[in-house]
Every structure is written in structure tokens, then in C-alpha cells.
């Protein structure tokens, strides 16, 4: 070890070597979270389903948003990726700091910690995704050949969430405000993402914001795979891919530079 920065090649090799550690930590986090609860793993599905149900009732009965497919399925198709994204980014931002007990005692690439959160929450989302598919059948939308789009949809979701998590977790070590900034951002972010409404029903004022939102493309890709995409969705996917790559590049720069000295500030 010489100097504080790591080479990208070395960082990559260390991360690859840590893959079983990441899997192990993720499994531990996931099961420990529900171990002491009487309903156990049911909460992993129950909570997002419940939240989506409340939103569905409010926005179909009270506010009345008209959509082609049944509103419940329309909403849930977008809520699955959104809840994964917001939960994961919120937790991953503090991952390095929260695990300081581990990180200040033994070396492994610190990127493993936010990536663990990314993987942990994926377990729960796999189940909610199954619920989504069940709902599409139950509401008569059916499952078409477009369902294969779920593969790139999940890939894009994980890539975007992962690279933003890496970026946020590294920044949070130096600026502990990041946690609150993330929380605050999520409140706004939810409303500029077409979860509750279709993409083509965005009022002119916030339209550019919605179209440049990295999550819009992800959400639309999930809709395309299940209930059918909103008109004008393809460019938003390109925007999401661009965001993922930009965040990944930024995250790599930060982790390359600070991986070996994060511990100094823990």
C-alpha cells in the first residue's frame, strides 16, 4: 500500500474478492431485520403493499386520476421500483458510517457496504415484484411478451440505485448532512416521478423536471413490462441510463480516491 488512492483495477479486484462477503452481509441484514417480528418476513411484502394500497385508494377515489389500465395496477407497477429506490438510497447513504465498527477495524472495499444494502433490499423487492405480477393477472391486465422487459428494468433500477448509493455513501463520510439532504430530496422526488400519474399528464411547469428525472425512465420501463408504458417513454429511459453512468463514474472517482482513508473520519 502506497499513497492514499487505490487504482481502479485494484479496487475492482478487491470488490470482486468481497462478493461472498457482500452476499453474506446482505443475507444477514435481511433476515436479522425481520427475525424478532412476529410476522417475520411478511413485513417485507406487507409494508410496500400496504403503502401502495393507501395511495391507490386516495388517488383513485378522492383525487380521481384516469388511467387506461386499472389504477391499482398502474400505481403498483411504478411503486415497486420507487419504494426499492427510496428505501435503498436512504439506507445506503449512511452505510459506511453506520458500519464504522466494522470499517475501522478491518479492511474490505468500503463500496461493499452500500452495495450490501442494494442487495439486501433486492430480496424484499423480488417478492413485491411477484405480487405485482399477481395483481396484473387479478385485474385482468394479463402478462404479455413485454414482461421480458422486466430484465432490463430491474437491471437499470439496480444500476441507478447502486451508483447513486455509492456516490451518497462516500459523500456522507465527509458531509454528514447527506443523510438529511437525501431524506428531503425523496419527498420532492416522489412527486416529480410519474408514480401516481402517467407521463403524458404532467403539467407544463414541471415537465422538464420529470423528463430529466433519473427515476422516470426506470418507472416507465417497469410499466412497459406490465401495464403498458405511457406515451413518450423511450427518451426517459435513455436519460436514466445516462444518469446511471454519470453517477457510476463519479462514485468510482470518489471510492478510488478515498477508499483507504474513509476510516480516518469514522
Amino acid at each position: 500500500m502506497e499513497g492514499e488512492a487505490t487504482t481502479l483495477r485494484r479496487l475492482g479486484a478487491e470488490l470482486w474478492a468481497s462478493r461472498s462477503l457482500i452476499a453474506m452481509l446482505a443475507r444477514k441484514d435481511f433476515f436479522v431485520r425481520y427475525r424478532r417480528a412476529s410476522f417475520g418476513l411478511l413485513w417485507a411484502v406487507g409494508l410496500p403493499v400496504f403503502q401502495a394500497a393507501v395511495l391507490a385508494v386516495v388517488f383513485s377515489q378522492v383525487v380521481r386520476i384516469e388511467t387506461g389500465p386499472p389504477y391499482v395496477v398502474f400505481l403498483f407497477a411504478a411503486y415497486v421500483p420507487w419504494s426499492y429506490f427510496s428505501l435503498t438510497l436512504g439506507a445506503a447513504a449512511t452505510a459506511i458510517v453506520d458500519n464504522s465498527g466494522l470499517a475501522s477495524k478491518i479492511y474490505f472495499p468500503r463500496a461493499a457496504l452500500p452495495l450490501t444494502t442494494v442487495l439486501t433490499n433486492l430480496y424484499g423487492s423480488a417478492v413485491t415484484l411477484a405480487v405485482l405480477l399477481g395483481l396484473t393477472v387479478a385485474y385482468g391486465v394479463g402478462i404479455g411478451p413485454a414482461v421480458v422487459l422486466l430484465v432490463p428494468a430491474v437491471a437499470l433500477l439496480v444500476m441507478l440505485t447502486g451508483s447513486m448509493s455509492l456516490l451518497a455513501s462516500a459523500t456522507h463520510v465527509y458531509f454528514r448532512d447527506v443523510r438529511y439532504v437525501t431524506q428531503a430530496a425523496m419527498t420532492v422526488w416522489f412527486y416529480v416521478t410519474p408514480v401516481l400519474y402517467p407521463l403524458d399528464r404532467v403539467p407544463g411547469g414541471i415537465a422538464p423536471l420529470v423528463k430529466l428525472n433519473p427515476m422516470t425512465g426506470v418507472v416507465e420501463l417497469f410499466r412497459a413490462a406490465t401495464v403498458g408504458a405511457d406515451p413518450g417513454w423511450l427518451p426517459t429511459v435513455a436519460v436514466s441510463v445516462a444518469w446511471s453512468l454519470a453517477c457510476l463514474a463519479g462514485a468510482l472517482v470518489l471510492h478510488r480516491r478515498y477508499d483507504r482513508v474513509f476510516a480516518d473520519l469514522l
Partner: protein, 401 residues
């Protein structure tokens, strides 16, 4: 291919930046613009060190001497600011045992988790599992959540994972101080065994006995600077000399063992010698010489030199003085030197010796020196406060059983 070294530090140093109390984004941006107003501190610097495979190496020093930083660099937790730190092979830091133990998980789950953190594969863990549980002695509780374990059991399990992991370099912190006597003995045995099997061990500790028993060479750090690198006894000796310097040196010109508070007499120096050489480490049975020089400002009747020996627990072990030597008086302005020759019939440990001057057999104490610290490497087996050098005889009585 055998590696020439297991651990190598080349002019390694670590600088920490002390941030101000105000971590606000606004103020940190202002600092960036106004040129950094952060202060920096070298925790360790200019460390050159090479440890061959299979050596047990000690690192000692007072609190804040840079031991922990050195250890973190060895464990790869933090990178050196300057120089190079090279460690060959897998490092298992025992910086605090049971790192990553989760209280809700069972002992079994924690062994696998902890082992994975240390870099073991699932297959290796399957193979080592029984040995780990056996060494820790927690068979009956292996499927119980760790939160129901006693703290001793947690430590034993953590130590067992690290030591059975057969790392190339084992970095041991204060952990040797935990666990009961039987377990400590087991750890010593096991550490000696893996050292003989080729594992390099770096022991960073205040436990001088552990260092003496395990390490051939020892590094003494003080204020981040290497004070000594080599022979362990010499390192222990110098460490005890450092113990006598106050943490916050007020008057650096005052020599060691000088007197505190007196008008009539001043103790100018106190020294511990072995065969004429100044030292701070003795072997049991060595005949040491304590030399005190006292300047008498006033004419003093019946000057008497006394010596008080205390052990680590501050228990008085021995007191003796020159009453029977009967010096009538000493003129003002004269210097008297007193040498006490005494066999170090002591057990392993750190001791202090304080010299004092009285006037008359039952007169008042005029002055005493600051305590002088030294280390005694006792005979093995012997326990207690003093080593009485007993001799034994075992005979069998004649006749039928």
C-alpha cells in the same frame, strides 16, 4: 517460493487532519477558499520495519504513541500518508475480537459471518468449524443467539475464528488481556503454534509480559517516533525509562529521579545499573545497583538514605535504609552519593523505586526522588510478590508401599 518478508514498512507515516468543531458545509467551503485552516498531526512517522515470516513481533508504547495507527496501517484499514506499507498474504486483525458479531445471530451464524469478513471461503469455514467451536468451548450454545452469551464466551469465539483462520499475518491488539487465565494460556500456546507454523504475529499491547514471552524483537514508539527497534529486553528497558517522563513535560531540564520539594536537600539524580551500565530491565536474581546523588544545602545531622520498592499495584514490596551506616553529619554544600546493591529477587512485572533522604533514625523525611520505573523478567512458574529463590528436595521414603 519463500517470501523474504511478511511485513515491510518503508519510511511509513500517517498524518491526520484535525477538523474544526464546525463541520457545516458553509464553513468548510469558506475554509477551502481561505486556504485550509485545519490543523494536522503526524500520528506516526518515518517507520522502517521488516518482519520475516514466522516471527512474533511486539509493538509497545504509551497511550497516544501511534501504536493503534501503525496497527490500522498493517490491517489495511487506513493508508499511509507517506511511504509504503507492504503486507504479504491474508491479514487477520484481532483488533477487537468478534468484529462484526451480530447479537441477534446465533454462534454458528456469527462464525460464518466473521470468517467471511476475515476472508475465508464457505468451504474453508465448513472444514474449520468444528475446531473453532472446540477451541472456544461453546459447543452447547452454538445455536443460541450471541446476545445470550457471556462476554467471555463472545471473546473466546471471536478469538477462535481469527486464530483458526490460519492467516499469514495475525495482528493482535489488547485482546490478550481478556479471558480467564486458562484461556489466556490456551491463546499463548496456540499463538506459539501458529507462529511455528509460519504465521507472522504482530502484538500491539501494554501487556509487557506477553511481549516478553512471545516476541524476539520489539518496536518501541513514542510520540509517533521509533525509539527502539530490536531486542525485546532493551525495548522494555527503554519503555520504562519513558514511563518516568511526565506526560506533559513541564520542566524538561530536570533530570530523571530528581527530588520533589525540599530546601535542605536536593536529590540530583537516581539511576538503576546492572554491571555498571544504566538499565531499566532486569532478570530475576540480577544484582542491581541503585545510585542516588544528593546535594545538601544545609548542614544536616545523621543523613539517612532510604529506598522504597513498589510493584505495579503500588504495593510496597521492600523498604530499607542506611540507618545502620551511621554518618554523623554532612556539611552544607556537599554532595553525597549512595549506592544500594540489591538482588532483584522479584517476579515478572513493572516496579518503581523511590529514593528518600531523612535526618536521623526517626527524623523527618527531607526529600524524596520521583519514582524510577523498571521491568523485571521473572523466573517462569514463580508467582506472588517476591521470588524467595526456594530450593526443593523430593525424596522417597524407604520401605514397602
Amino acid at each position: 517460493m519463500t517470501a523474504a518478508f511478511a511485513v515491510r514498512l518503508t519510511d511509513a507515516g500517517k498524518r491526520y487532519t484535525k477538523y474544526d468543531d464546525n463541520p457545516l458545509l458553509v464553513s468548510s467551503l469558506r475554509h477551502v477558499r481561505a486556504g485550509s485552516r485545519r490543523s494536522t498531526l503526524w500520528a506516526v512517522r518515518n517507520v522502517d520495519l521488516e518482519i520475516p515470516p514466522g516471527e512474533c513481533f511486539g509493538v509497545i508504547g504509551r497511550n497516544g504513541s501511534g501504536k493503534s495507527t501503525l496497527l490500522q496501517m498493517l490491517a489495511g484499514v487506513t493508508a499511509p500518508t507517506e511511504g509504503r506499507v507492504q503486507v504479504r498474504g491474508r491479514v487477520a486483525p484481532l483488533i477487537s475480537v468478534g468484529v462484526g458479531f451480530h447479537s441477534e445471530l446465533t454462534g454458528r451464524e456469527n462464525v460464518y459471518l466473521n470468517g467471511t469478513i476475515l476472508g475465508l471461503s464457505r468451504a474453508e469455514l465448513d472444514r474449520l468449524f468444528d475446531d473453532i467451536v472446540d477451541f472456544a468451548g461453546v459447543e452447547r450454545f452454538i445455536d443460541t443467539p450471541v446476545k445470550f452469551y457471556s462476554s467471555g464466551m463472545v471473546v473466546r469465539l471471536g478469538f477462535a475464528v481469527a486464530i483458526q483462520a490460519q492467516p499469514d499475518v495475525l495482528v493482535v491488539d489488547e485482546v490478550l488481556a481478556v479471558g480467564d487465565f486458562a484461556f489466556q494460556l490456551k491463546c499463548f500456546e496456540r499463538m506459539t503454534a501458529i507462529r511455528d507454523a509460519g504465521t507472522t504475529i504482530v502484538v500491539v499491547t501494554h501487556n509487557l509480559n506477553a511481549v516478553r514471552r512471545l516476541c524476539e524483537r520489539t518496536l518501541l514508539l513514542h510520540d509517533g517516533v521509533v525509539q527502539h527497534l530490536g531486542d525485546t529486553t532493551e525495548a522494555l528497558s527503554r519503555y520504562h525509562a519513558l514511563l518516568d517522563t511526565p506526560e506533559e513535560p513541564e520542566d524538561e531540564t530536570a533530570p530523571l529521579g530528581a527530588s520533589v520539594g525540599s530546601d535542605a536537600v536536593t536529590i540530583e539524580s537516581t539511576d538503576l545499573r546492572l554491571q555498571g551500565r544504566s538499565t531499566r530491565a532486569l532478570d530475576a536474581g540480577d544484582v542491581a545497583e541503585v545510585e542516588v546523588r544528593a546535594r545538601f544545602h544545609d548542614t544536616t545531622a545523621e543523613p539517612i538514605f532510604g529506598f522504597a520498592l513498589r510493584n505495579e499495584a503500588r504495593v510496597p514490596v521492600y523498604y530499607d535504609d542506611t540507618t545502620l551506616l551511621a554518618v554523623d553529619k554532612v556539611e552544607g554544600g556537599r554532595v553525597l552519593t549512595c549506592r544500594m546493591r540489591v538482588p532483584a529477587n522479584l517476579v515478572t512485572g513493572s516496579y518503581t523505586i523511590t529514593a528518600m533522604v531523612r535526618s536521623g533514625f526517626d527524623g523527618p523525611e527531607l526529600t524524596h526522588s520521583t519514582p524510577l520505573s523498571f521491568y523485571v523478567a521473572g523466573r517462569p512458574i514463580v508467582h506472588g510478590i517476591v521470588d524467595l529463590h526456594a530450593s526443593f528436595e523430593v525424596t522417597e521414603e524407604p520401605g514397602l508401599p
